[in-house]
């Protein structure tokens, strides 16, 4: 799959919330987009991600 612009291999489909946890993300401070669609936080437990997906995880940083 394409994750934050980089190709990574997802050997099997995974629940989004588990994927984020494995990657070390705190779900309360991020937003997730899969195939250019925003996934609401309430959907993290029900969303399955696939190796064919394009995913972006973003957070806030300092900026003017």
């Amino acid at each position: 799959m394409k994750f934050n612009g980089k190709e990574i291999l997802l050997e099997k489909d995974v629940i989004l919330s588990e994927f984020l946890k494995t990657m070390g993300y705190d779900a309360s401070v991020i937003a997730v987009e899969i195939n250019y669609e925003i996934i609401p936080k309430a959907e993290y437990d029900k969303t399955l991600i696939h190796n064919s997906d394009t995913m972006e995880v973003v957070n806030f940083v300092g900026g003017g």
Binding site: N4, V57, V58, F60, V61, G62, G63, G64
Partner: protein
Amino acid sequence: MNTDKLIIGKKEFNSRFILGSGKFSLEMTKTVIENAEIEMATLALRRANNAGSENILNYIPKGITLLPNTSGARNAQEAVRIARLAREIGCGDFVKVEVIHDSKYLLPDNYETAKATEMLAKENFIVMPYMYPDLNAARDMVNAGAAAIMPLGAPIGSNKGLLTKDFIKILIDEISLPIIVDAGIGRPSQACEAMEMGCSAVMANTAVATAKNVALMARAFKLAIEAGRSAYLAGLGRVLDYKAEASSPLTDFLQD
């Protein structure tokens, strides 16, 4: 009690200083916010590549209204995408629309900015467009549903001050929304001048971040903005050209 409130959308603010949070260390962010006594700070959105690292939200005191910007957006669609993602993080509906595709001068594209403003206002964002101070474009922003107008004083990060002063004054006179100078303000005296002429607020980032003592400079900006606001409310004294008027009663006993 302070009855002079800044109102953006339906939200009231006592502080008229909006701080940009870029270029500070995370620890310094908190110190600067406390010294500036701000109630609103901008943030940017970026790919979260360092999972588990410290998040800036932990360094911004509760109660501060967050104003995510759409920096990096090169057109209206990208700005809308960034704004939607920012709102999904869950820090409110405010957004500073910033659309730039000129990497040398970083000047905003007013046309794309107006388009993004319209799309986001329809999605109930409280939209604060960053723009070049052009009256016609500012009217487009108003019609698009903007909650405030953020004209630049000088190019982003330049600390050059109010180069566009006369055009900002036209916006103050003709646009009924809050006019907030954003970008270019380099000194507290320039922030004060913007407030004296009737701006509703001033946003600054680089001027504070590149000072030798950022905490003290944050304080200086707070005081300058308050001074400028008081001066505006007081109404500036009149100016005499090529003549004088004594401030002291003339000592008439010397005349006899």
